[in-house]
């Protein structure tokens, strides 16, 4: 390749060819495989222009395939939640919950309200735990003293002399003190966060039995025994976490603001066009009946509003619209095409036509093969969302989860439950007085950019949001118990034929499960977690997946040259999405008959020679 490397960036603001005039020897290939401190197996392969201090090319690869949907096929539909929970070892319960939502729709059952409150409490605990562990034990290490010393000694030097604006709240005098507290295992805040991630997992276990694959989640409700004690045990732990949040949010604000300050232009790191998707979380049992026909109403009644944000504009909050627009493109992945395969669902229950590339109709045909970065290079496909207004297949990302959740919730302005309130331009979080700290109001404001720092900042605010929302859910659950409405499960029949879909927010972003039942058995089951959205490869339009897009074109601020290069800005960017690769690579509905029919030698050859196949 030559020295002039064209890099296309999507979006109105960055739709420019980044052309480098650097000498050829300043362009170096750098790969990180495996990316550690994430869940699962991910590789990032880049070309970096060290003269221009910019990433000029990025590919994201995944190296594990398991094949969930194939072994779900033909199984009892009620088993789906137990099995799909095992997709992910850090947010398995999000899958169990989402599956249960899809089954409720397919079986036509509405759980008793108390079951929804219990699940909301369990899922809130999951967000509190998972974000805490990821933010301060995994992402935090990228901002710790040891790491900053190795990558940006100049920044550390400055941090030593920079007072933390909220030191009085969190107890660390300088920014460097915060960084030291984040050093793995030896750092005091690292260990405190680890301990808090346990406390919140205890809260989770109270509601859902066991972490991370729950034992008490069923279609029709939960098996959790709803006693006064259950909610007391949860509440006392929650209040400790609420107090913790009053220190953690300002601590992260101090740390992240410092990076903008110490490294002017750092907002460009990991920045991409604002293309965010959120499928909503925390059901409102007064509105939610799990029927497809009423889904727009109960979707908008959720305590985190679903929606799609394009270039800062909220273009829909309607779950039916979001569902109908989903497209699964093969991209540069190790699968054969299923176009012309079986159309399981022609129209949704409202009569909307369902595309062959919609998850309900996906038949995925895996073909293990050599990895060619110019050809097929990953086990992740390319989910996209068809924007009807423009015909564009948007490579939505989740912003690691919280960024999209806040952005849609803030703009929609629907949530208002006292402890949390969406204002139309921000989300207010009120944390009540706790044992040693007064009532505290936090406000997440829509940021200027969808970038690495803002993905991370949103995470810490969402921890507080989950805690605040959980206070409301405890109150609602106790109301049910006090009124004697302690039923947690409703009976149902598995139909011979049926379809269902579940929408939820996994910790790291939008999660959907689509199910087709025939003859009382699973005929097709397609889970789409956040990571296929975020970690997807280039699609056949040439659109980069979000990790690739966020890294490609991103500036480099690390002080090391090519020899000692750690790629810290790239690592921070990739981790800001909260990668969870096991979620990315299970999508496979095998059908041996189809596989034989569809296997064409020319296709295989094309793949070997690196041709792009849609």
């Amino acid at each position: 390749m030559g020295a002039r490397k064209k890099v296309m960036k999507e979006g109105p603001e960055r739709k420019v060819d980044l052309v480098t005039d650097s000498p050829p020897d300043s362009i170096v290939e750098k790969s990180w495989d495996p990316i550690t401190r994430i869940v699962g197996s991910l590789g990032i392969h880049t070309k970096i222009d060290f003269a221009a201090r910019r990433v000029i090319e990025c590919h994201s690869t995944s190296s594990i395939f398991r094949g969930y949907s194939v072994f779900l096929r033909g199984k009892d539909p009620r088993d789906a939640g137990f099995i799909t929970s095992r997709i992910c070892g850090i947010c398995g319960d999000n899958h169990a919950t989402c599956s249960m939502y899809a089954q409720n729709m397919a079986f036509g059952v509405k759980p008793p309200p108390l079951a929804d409150w219990i699940i909301n409490l369990g899922e809130a605990a999951e967000y509190m735990f998972d974000h805490s562990l990821f933010q301060d034990n995994l992402v935090g290490v990228d901002f710790c003293e040891q790491m900053v010393r190795e990558t940006n000694p100049g920044v550390l030097e400055r941090a030593e002399h920079t007072e933390a604006p909220h030191g009085g709240l969190h107890g660390f005098r300088t920014i460097a003190d915060i960084m030291r507290a984040l050093n793995p295992f030896t750092g005091t805040f690292y260990r405190e966060a680890l301990q808090m991630s346990r406390l919140t997992r205890e809260m989770f276990c109270l509601m859902e039995g066991r972490h991370v694959h729950p034992s008490t989640i069923y279609p029709g409700g939960v098996g959790t025994v709803p006693t006064v004690q259950l909610f007391t045990d949860y509440l006392v732990r929650l209040l400790k976490y609420v107090e913790f949040m009053k220190k953690v949010v300002p601590l992260h604000d101090d740390l992240f603001d410092f990076f903008y300050q110490a490294l002017p232009g750092y907002h460009e790191v990991g920045r991409r066009r604002i293309l965010l998707g959120c499928l909503g979380t925390f059901q409102n049992p007064e509105v939610c009946d799990f029927q497809y026909q009423t889904m727009p109403a109960w979707g908008e009644a959720m305590y985190v509003t679903p929606g799609i944000v394009v270039d800062g504009e909220l273009i829909t909050t309607n779950l039916v619209d979001i569902n109908v627009g989903m497209r699964i493109l093969l991209g540069h992945s190790f699968y054969d095409d299923w176009a012309g395969g079986e159309l399981f669902v022609k129209n949704d229950p409202l009569g909307n036509p369902i595309d062959i590339r919609h998850p309900w109709n996906q038949t995925t045909l895996p073909r293990p093969q050599k990895r060619e970065l110019g050809g097929k290079y990953t086990w992740v496909m390319s989910p996209r969302w068809l924007d009807k207004r423009t015909g564009e297949h948007l490579a939505l990302d989740t912003g690691g989860g919280p960024l999209a959740r806040f952005w849609t919730t803030a703009l929609a302005g629907k949530v208002d439950i006292g402890y949390v309130k969406a204002t139309g331009h921000s989300v207010k979080i009120v944390l009540p007085k706790t044992i040693s700290l007064p009532e505290t109001e936090l406000e997440w404001k829509i940021p200027q950019w969808s970038n690495t720092i803002e993905r991370n900042r949103a995470r810490t605010y969402f921890q507080a949001y989950s805690a605040a929302a959980a206070l409301y859910f405890v109150e609602q659950a106790l109301k049910e118990v006090h009124a004697g409405r302690t039923k947690t499960w409703n009976e149902f029949q598995v139909p011979d034929e049926g379809i269902g879909c579940g929408f939820h927010e996994a910790v790291r972003g939008m999660l959907s499960h689509h199910m087709v039942i025939r003859k009382g058995r699973i005929a097709n089951y397609q889970p789409y977690p956040p990571t296929p959205w975020n970690a997807s490869p280039r699609d056949h339009f040439g659109t980069l997946g979000p990790y690739e897009d966020a890294v490609q074109g991103s500036p480099i601020f690390e002080e090391n040259g090519p020899d000692k290069f750690k790629g810290i800005d790239i690592m921070r960017t990739v981790r800001s999405f909260d990668p969870c690769l096991p979620c990315g690579v299970h999508m496979y509905t095998g059908d041996s008959k189809l596989l034989e029919v569809r296997h064409s030698p020319t296709f295989g050859m094309g793949a070997l020679h690196g041709k792009q196949t849609p």
Binding site: P34, S41, G67, R78, I87, L133, L206, G223, Q369, G590
Partner: protein
């Protein structure tokens, strides 16, 4: 098995723990160990337990190093430059022999070919040099969910791959700690046991025929379940959410080896049947196929629960009878002018 201490010679002051999560896994076991408190992972890493070597943990979820720096640790271990080490394998082992090319599971890139290094190659390189090998979680132990009937990858457990009678460099069998995921403390406690063994302070780790530590998996779920009393009285739940015995709703607890109801999931909290979740047998070699569909009553439970019906109803009736009496206070507890407790005051006693 010998009860003699089998220590490493020389007794180490630290032990590396080399961890492969790149089986067919969900990383749920790596996540689970961050929940452990008995002991906690930081206690093991920081050397906070007297008399045992501290560990140098090389787990991708928690590693400081990244990419090539992390992979170098694995290469060093494979080359004998990182000793002694315990190899922890997480995830089912795919069968890479059943296809033409490519890989089902891989970790890192081979610098010469530019292709991913299959996980099986790593196991082949590392297992022979390890002082002990732990299969963490049911996937690595027996295959688990990814080895379900109809799976495309030919997945299996580590003992299926290496052989049930495989022995480590220190002559220790594969140690399986099943659970989906592993109960956090079950893992850290087993690791601690091996550390004691390495310095000669514990005999050979006692394992059952499925290679599970005996002290953890010797009892069934039912034997430790706080709902067992309902079973004894033939008092069975008819719907989820009931505090009674849930064996008729799909619980396999009476025939599953697992300590979770007794130990709780973490800090004594949570579990399965004890908190309202059916036991789906996730610690067992037959998981999941032999337990599906999960929400049906296990065939064996139909018979055994009918068998206890007569006995259970009888004892329940007798106990209710006794209990009814115990629910009443003795009749002398009342605000009357007369004392009727049977007490005889000494000042009323007739003089001798």
């Amino acid at each position: 098995m010998s009860q003699e201490p089998m220590k490493l010679d020389p007794a180490p002051s630290y032990v590396h723990v080399v961890w492969i999560t790149a089986g067919l896994s969900c990383d749920g076991d790596s996540v689970a160990i961050t929940a452990a408190t008995q002991p906690s992972i930081e206690e093991l890493v920081l050397g906070a337990i007297p008399g045992v070597p501290r560990i140098h943990l090389h787990n991708p979820l928690l590693a400081y190093q990244n990419g090539d720096d992390f992979l170098q640790i694995m290469h060093d271990a494979a080359a004998g430059k990182l000793e002694p080490f315990i190899l922890v394998v997480e995830g089912s082992i795919p069968n890479e022999k059943i296809k033409q090319e490519g890989y089902w599971a891989a970790l890192g890139t081979d610098k010469e070919t530019g292709q991913p290094i299959p996980t099986c190659d790593w196991i082949d390189r590392l297992a022979p040099r390890a002082q002990a090998v732990i299969a963490i979680g049911t996937c690595a132990a027996y295959g688990g969910v990814h080895a379900m009937a109809g799976n495309p990858t030919g997945a299996m457990g580590l003992p299926d791959y290496l052989g049930m009678s495989w022995r480590s460099a220190a002559d220790i069998p594969i140690v399986c700690i099943p659970g989906c995921p592993v109960q956090p403390d079950n893992f850290t406690e087993t690791l601690l046991y091996l550390l004691y063994q390495f310095v000669g302070r514990a005999p050979m780790i006692p394992l059952d025929e499925s290679l599970r530590p005996r002290w953890l998996f010797g009892m069934t779920v039912h034997e430790g379940c706080d709902r067992g009393g309902f079973y004894e009285q033939a008092d069975f739940a008819k719907e989820y959410g009931s505090p009674k015995c849930i064996v008729k709703l799909g619980c396999w607890g009476p025939v599953v080896n697992c300590n979770v109801p007794k130990r709780g999931w973490m800090a004594g909290i949570g579990g399965c049947p004890n908190v309202g979740g059916i036991c789906i047998g996730c610690t067992m070699p037959g998981f999941p196929d032999k337990f599906m569909p999960f929400m049906n009553e296990p065939p064996g439970a139909k018979m055994s629960s009918s068998a206890v019906l007569m006995y259970g109803r009888t004892v329940r009736a007798l106990r209710q009878f006794t209990q009814a009496s115990l629910q009443r206070e003795p009749d002398w507890r009342r605000p009357t002018t007369e004392l009727s407790t049977g007490y005889t005051p000494s000042w009323n006693l007739p003089k001798r």
